[in-house]
Amino acid sequence: MSSPLPFEGLRVIDLGSFWAAPYLTSYLGAYGADVIKVESTQRPDGFRFTATDPALGDAWYERSLMWQATNLNKRSLTLDLGADEGKRLLSELCAEADVFVENYAARVVEQFGFDYESLRKINPSMVVMRLPGFGLTGPWRDFVGWGNAFEQLAGLAWVTGYPDGQPKTPGGYIDPTVGMHAAVALMAALEHRDRTREGQLVEVAQIEVGASMSAPQVIAESISGVAPGRIGNRAGAYAPQGVYRCADETTSLVAVSVRHDEEWKALLTVMGHPEALADAAYNTFPGRASHHDELDEAIQSWFSEQSCDDVLDALQAAGIPAAKVLTADGFNEDPQLVSRSFYQEVEHPLSGPRLFPRYPMQFSFEAPMGPHRAPAPLLGQHNNQVLGDELGLTEAELRELRDANVVGTVPAGLAT
């Protein structure tokens, strides 16, 4: 008998949208949870409409690969929460659920009557995960934002970029990171629930996850009065360190770090001891650090005449930290990712077989083909299963719900 998955038996009601909360629930689903993603035809998850287009074919709102990647391992239910019957059915589902997840701006679920106090009355053992952008309280609780904004507000853009240039936004990486922070808190809250039968509200404000990751900036400023700024591709105690362009026809860049004097000597050997780097002052870190611009220029000049693969092989053989700058075109072919089966093929009924990322951890209990257990569901695909088979609604009642547009399978406005 195979080992049970860690979240087997866990029922999750997922009102997540876009990336942060759906990433969390997709993870829970991969490792065994029964995740019911609740949308409505009036207000489907906005991520369905990202990176897709009617030109991709019928039901194009099912075809966004980004949406699919974030919603693997779930079932889909539509419920119009503006209708009393929709609210009643969601309440009924919550009564039997272990976890409720949402990441709208603070006011949204409250407007529908699903604030924490109401949910607690329905099911005091349920863990309620709320992942608002700015927090459930405070003057900015109703501000709008998404990953890039949270990274800017939390000090992460300020330290990204070149000293003489604009602050640059990392790129929304905070979204899945919020999802994983929430996973940690959720699993702890479930341990408490298992011991006491007591549920609770877990609030994970996305800007506070960002600010937590900016601790060194806040700490340094509070002690020295100077907030760290941008350093480009450098690192204070490594020199030289940079990203250099090779001779390849298509853009190819290699990142190199010299951590100490021995690696500097090794780099000079790889480069054939160029005249421009012969100055004895460069043999120690202070000399290299104070002439970093000149070193960059000489190294770039040499790299410009080398093929990327050759220079990378030589640097790595010499024990110098070096890596090719990976771009989207190379994700599915990267030797390390391929060797460790980072991408898992999952077949979607409309999009066909596609490669989706798994997680950066391989568990001893994991199935050999990877963690993903099901493709992203079609909108409302499991309406009958959840409402009929599990909540016991009759076919006539289900028809009534469809006729009243409380449930459906096509976004409002796109129905023919």
Partner: protein, 385 residues
């Protein structure tokens, strides 16, 4: 006494080097009430002295160490063959082990991990390494820059002429720390459910990459649509300077684009979003008009105007300005702590639990401060019932 979620859960932290990945993972578990023991050599954890890649001031390094290790316990131990018995005992007693020593290090010390794996214990073991415990890169040396490069984090950040640049602030390490903590809790959940020792092979490189694979999926969709290999080359609003600082104007929807053009007086560009995002058309004129409009307004004014129109506009904050923002003035988050170098300001826990609040922050231990207590606890556990 306040109840915590993970009270009584024993966590053993090994290694981790002079970076934040493993200490942040276990800090998150301390915040939830776990009893974390970290093992350090007699000359102290590498991070006490700062980072190998940074010239950070000693006072600042000591305070960052205090922030990451508040509430943990320190065991000082020479990691060599003579201490195998102690180390094996600690691993056997732990509910969670987070091993940041690196690929093959425990085995090199003579710890028979396979034998421990087969022991009748419910321990969850997360083995953290730069590249993972297999694959052609497994033994390559790495730095933050090369890991970010290999994983795809070094880009022009949607500024067409910018030389590709890494993400600052060691963000990848904080990201990885949270994934490590999630892996540890997932493995623990499995170990409790199955009664099996559960191990995890964790790759920091894959973790960084985990945050970006969507760019390939977007590329594939664009190719199918025949719109070219790259979706966006340019950020027409984004981070820009105001009269007194930087603001981020983050457009996601067509409606937000139109509203942002209206607010900033760029009405002539209201139906030209896609053209500008592709870096085509009158990009320079747009930029000049936008900068001119922003130059006579403060960050606060632009944020207020934008948010009133439901446009995601925020200040670009720094370590200095974050704690003073109105949201965190009214919603306490940053707190003052007494560290080894005096008082300092630090962020609170990244979550708020209504029934099992975050543990109170105690100072980080001195080197080996809890060694005797921990050794005595181990001996007591060994006494037959």
């Amino acid at each position: 006494m306040t109840t915590t979620s993970l009270g009584g859960v024993r966590v053993l932290e090994l290694g981790g080097g002079a970076n934040y990945v493993v200490p942040y993972a276990t800090k998150l578990l301390v915040d939830l009430g776990a009893d974390v023991i970290f093992v350090e050599e007699p000359d102290g954890h590498a991070l006490r002295r700062g980072r190998a890649d940074s010239l950070i001031e000693p006072d600042v390094a000591a305070s960052i160490f205090d922030f990451l290790n508040s509430g943990k316990r320190s065991l000082s131990l020479n990691l060599d063959p003579s201490t195998i018995g102690i180390l094996e005992g600690l691993i056997q007693r732990a509910d969670i082990v987070i091993d940041g020593l690196g690929v093959g290090k425990l085995e090199g010390l003579g710890i028979d991990v396979q034998a421990l794996k087969n022991a009748p214990s419910r321990t969850a073991i997360v083995r953290v390494s730069d590249w993972g415990d297999s694959g052609p890169y497994r033994d390559l040396p790495a730095t933050g820059l090369t890991l970010q490069a290999a994983a795809g984090w070094i880009t022009n950040r949607q500024e067409p002429n910018l030389h590709p640049v890494q993400v600052g602030g060691e963000m990848h390490e904080w990201v990885a720390g949270s994934y490590v903590a999630a892996a540890a809790m997932t493995a623990r959940t499995h170990a409790l459910k199955s009664g099996e020792r559960t191990s995890v092979d964790f790759s920091v490189f894959e973790c960084i990459h985990s945050t970006i694979p969507y760019s390939r999926l977007m590329l594939d969709s664009n190719r199918e649509l025949g719109v070219g290999a790259v979706a966006s080359q340019n950020t027409p609003f984004g981070v820009r300077p105001c009269e007194d600082g930087w603001v981020g104007i983050n457009i996601l929807t067509g409606q937000q684009w139109q509203d942002a053009c209206l607010v900033t007086g760029l009405v002539e560009f209201m139906d030209r979003q896609q053209e500008l995002v592709r870096g085509e058309g009158e990009v320079e004129k747009f930029e000049a008009l936008l900068l001119d409009w922003l130059s006579t307004r403060t960050v606060d004014e632009v944020v207020e105007l934008g948010q009133a129109m439901r446009i995601p506009v925020v200040p670009v904050a720094t370590g200095a300005t974050m704690p003073a923002l109105p949201q965190w003035q009214e919603r306490p988050f940053f707190t003052r702590a007494d560290g080894p170098s005096g008082a300092y300001l630090r962020p609170g826990a990244p979550w708020r639990l209504s029934r099992t609040p975050t543990s109170d922050g105690k100072p980080a231990p001195t080197v080996g401060q809890n060694t005797d207590d921990i050794i005595n606890e181990s001996r007591k556990d060994e006494v037959p019932a």
